[in-house]
Amino acid sequence: MTGLSRILLARAVQAFTVALLVGVITFLLVRSLPGDIAMRIAAGRYGMDMVSVAAAERVSAELGLDRPWSAQLLEWLWNIARFDLGTSLVTGERVVDSLGVELGHTLLLSLAALGLSLLIGPPLGLLLGLRAGSAADRAGLVAAAAIRALPPFVLGLLLILLFSLTLGWLPPAGFEGPRELLLPALTLALGLAAASSRVARDATALVVAAPYFAFARWKGLSDRQALLRHGLRNASVPLVAYLGMQLVWLIEGVVVVESLFAWPGIGHSLVHAIFGRDIPMVQGTALVMGLIFVVLNAAVDLLCLALDPRRRAGA
């Protein structure tokens, strides 16, 4: 089997396992949350002022919440096997319809964040790696550590304070166009760039110190030529591999950042679904997030394969 098909097969198995585990675990987690589930759903549907035992009883009867857990879980699994995510317990809409709209917003935000972080992180890391040990390098380390240590929520508020309140350039929330996209994307991107700049810096420093790089210089290439021909590709392999790991941060960040910036994505919707005990929505959003993770990791694998010929030889 070639490296390519092995990767794809492994990821397909992973996707299946993720779907199964996510469905079962989210179901059990939501059911074990404290509080009466029918009450929460009633509150989500009709508002806090309308929460009453009578409303909760109607909800429970309508949704069959008093059936055994196992029956409800099996029903979801049977539906998912037929690619049916069910309908939201709160809004009554089909989960797949809501996810379709929200996924678009989340993908837009994630890709913008990833793109911005690639514009900021690796070039910065490359420059600092070439000057490893300098004052700028050390300052970069401190800045990266500080940004990474800030939770996305705080980072987002700081950016709003700077760009919206002090400078007045960008709106603090909303989802109409690129102006609204920039701040949430930047919040996520800075966290990503903080880490990727350090990985790029270390990789570059390693490459620059490597014997083959010294050889490239000896055979007469300029610094620039040596970097472009022998440096970038070698330094990019760990960087791309690390990108896969960073996606965890991205998906986690999306949940918080979307809520902060009122961005109508799946992360925001997940938070709401949990508050409203909207089990099909929780399962649907978590499933989509899990699958995005698998797909992006597969993409990272393929990219690494393309970048690094040693992997293609098949170890």
Partner: protein, 512 residues
């Protein structure tokens, strides 16, 4: 924290963004920001959003003088036996899809509104039918508050095309001055002016709704001028925004009160003197000034002054008097125990206070009350859970104390809430285990009031109800709710509807 290079890059990126649709928006679009997300299109779920944004309309609403005024109904009459109502419809009304409003459509909308648990399912309705250009509603008993019930957002009138074949609402096609052009639940929608509105042409070219659940975000949107009207600001924002040059900050009390729900049927609070002691131990002025940041909101009785006819200025106010509280408790047989906690019949005065964090100030209020009751020898444990814990504790009898904010204007007439809360068996958010002559008297008074059409007789009954509540304290009023809006200073004609029926966007003009 940000390196200079990064900052330069970022600002470069910001300036290089090509299209700027938001800033290119004509200034005549009203941008409204609130905490409420669109949780489904059925009027029983998020109808209040479409009503307040004036996309869809009800038969009745509240006017600027806080009395019921006609909206889609032109006028209404009731038969002499008080059982048959006729609502004649405003002529020349069309829906956003061009359909003409008819009595059949209204009757169908109202019948649909009876199904979900909500306001209309609590009214004693017998039949709803179209009769020419009027809608006739029969009730099974005289029910004076019916027009107020038809102001509730679950009774919004939508076009037939708004519902799918299964009866579920698929789109909001209303009759209001704003027509939705794009809807993105749960976050918001965009609407343009509906030129064929029966009320004429409104000044704003359109309206945009955005739900921003975080108070910090809303405060910043008001502060930066990215929104024209921002509702429900957190108390922490009051001071900051009232100094802003960009926004005018308006607050008004609305018919909602923070209350302490009491299990009056249990060992601890069955004695009226204990409830009065509890009330006297609470420093409402301190709570209002320190936690809610609105010193005027300390409750002197259950109903706030905005509920004209229910708020009785002549009623002796609830006072803060710790020595009175101690005396009342001693009269009721409570003696200080060895650890300072009161004891009666060998049982220490230890109770649990339940509340929930959906309104972030509630847990803070609960701990303030915990501290204040400790001073008179009552040990309170604060339990923070879900909003459903209080109704559940009411049903299974395990609740001691519950802290919540109760809305008296679910319909613009508090009788709707009172019938739910203070009926013979109390209510999930009202009296619990409260018995005796006062309880029976209040239930009778409210029952009679709901059948009383004569204004003078109704006023006397309302005063009686208020007096019983003040004397018996089946729930303890803490503070009145303050509604807040930050509006851009470039707007004129912004007014607050204390009944939250409408944001009154159709009156707003763009000034300086």
């Amino acid at each position: 924290m940000l390196s200079r290079r990064m900052l330069a890059r970022l600002s470069g990126a910001a300036l290089a963004m090509p299209a700027l649709p938001a800033s290119a928006q004509p200034r005549a679009t009203l941008r409204v920001v609130t905490p409420w997300e669109i949780g489904g299109l059925d009027p029983a779920r998020s109808g209040y959003i479409f009503a307040r944004m004036q996309v869809a309309e009800t038969l009745v609403t509240t006017g600027t003088d806080n009395t019921l005024t006609p909206l889609l109904a032109r006028a209404w009459t009731v038969s002499d036996d008080g059982l048959a109502w006729t609502f004649s419809l405003r002529p020349g009304v069309t829906f956003h899809d061009g359909t003409a409003l008819s009595a059949e459509i209204v009757a169908a909308s109202l019948r649909r509104a009876q199904t979900p648990p909500g306001i209309l399912s609590n009214a004693p309705l017998a039949a709803i039918e179209a009769a020419g250009d009027a809608v006739r509603i029969r009730t099974s008993q005289p029910f004076a508050a019916l027009p107020a019930f038809l102001a509730h957002s679950s009774t919004l009138i939508l076009a037939p095309a708004a519902s799918g074949p299964d009866g579920a609402v698929r789109a909001i096609i209303g009759t209001g001055p704003f027509r939705i052009t794009s809807l993105t639940p749960p976050q918001g929608f965009e609407a343009v002016r509906f030129d064929a509105w029966w009320g004429g042409k409104v000044p704003a070219a359109g309206a945009r709704y955005l739900a921003a659940p975080r108070g910090e975000t809303r405060t910043l949107m008001a502060d930066t001028g990215e929104a024209d009207l921002v509702f429900n600001l957190p108390p922490t924002a009051f001071q900051r925004l009232s100094r802003s040059a960009r926004v005018a900050f308006v607050t008004a009390p609305i018919p909602r009160s923070y209350i302490l729900k009491i299990n009056a049927g249990g060992f601890f609070f069955g004695d009226r003197r204990v409830r009065q002691a509890l009330s006297a131990a609470i420093d409402r002025t301190g709570i209002a000034a320190g936690i809610l940041r609105t010193p005027d909101s300390a409750a002197t009785q259950l109903f706030p002054p905005s509920l004209a006819g229910w708020h009785d200025p002549a009623l002796p106010p609830l006072v803060h008097d710790a020595s009175l509280a101690r005396r009342l408790l001693a009269e009721a047989g409570w003696r200080p125990g060895p650890d300072g906690v009161l004891v009666r019949d060998g049982r220490a005065f230890r109770v649990t206070l339940r509340t929930f964090p959906d309104r972030p100030e509630q847990p803070v209020l609960a701990t303030a009350i915990q501290a204040q009751l400790k001073e008179i020898g009552i040990a309170v444990e604060v339990a923070i859970g879900n909003s459903g814990d209080i109704p559940l504790g009411h049903r299974d009898g395990t609740l001691d104390l519950g802290l919540a904010a109760r809305n008296f204007s679910l319909v613009p007439d508090p009788i709707g809430t009172l019938l739910q809360d203070y009926g013979p068996e109390g209510g999930d958010w009202g009296a619990m285990g409260w018995t005796g002559p006062g309880s029976a008297d209040l239930a009778t008074t409210i029952g009679t009031l709901s059948r009383t059409f004569d204004p003078a007789a109704a006023a006397a009954l309302r005063r009686r109800a208020t007096a019983i509540l003040q004397d018996e304290l089946p729930v303890i009023p803490l503070a009145w709710f303050i509604h807040s809006v930050a509006s851009g200073r470039h707007l004129a004609g912004v007014t607050l509807d204390p009944f939250e029926q409408s944001y009154r966007l159709s009156d707003i003009r763009f000034g300086a």
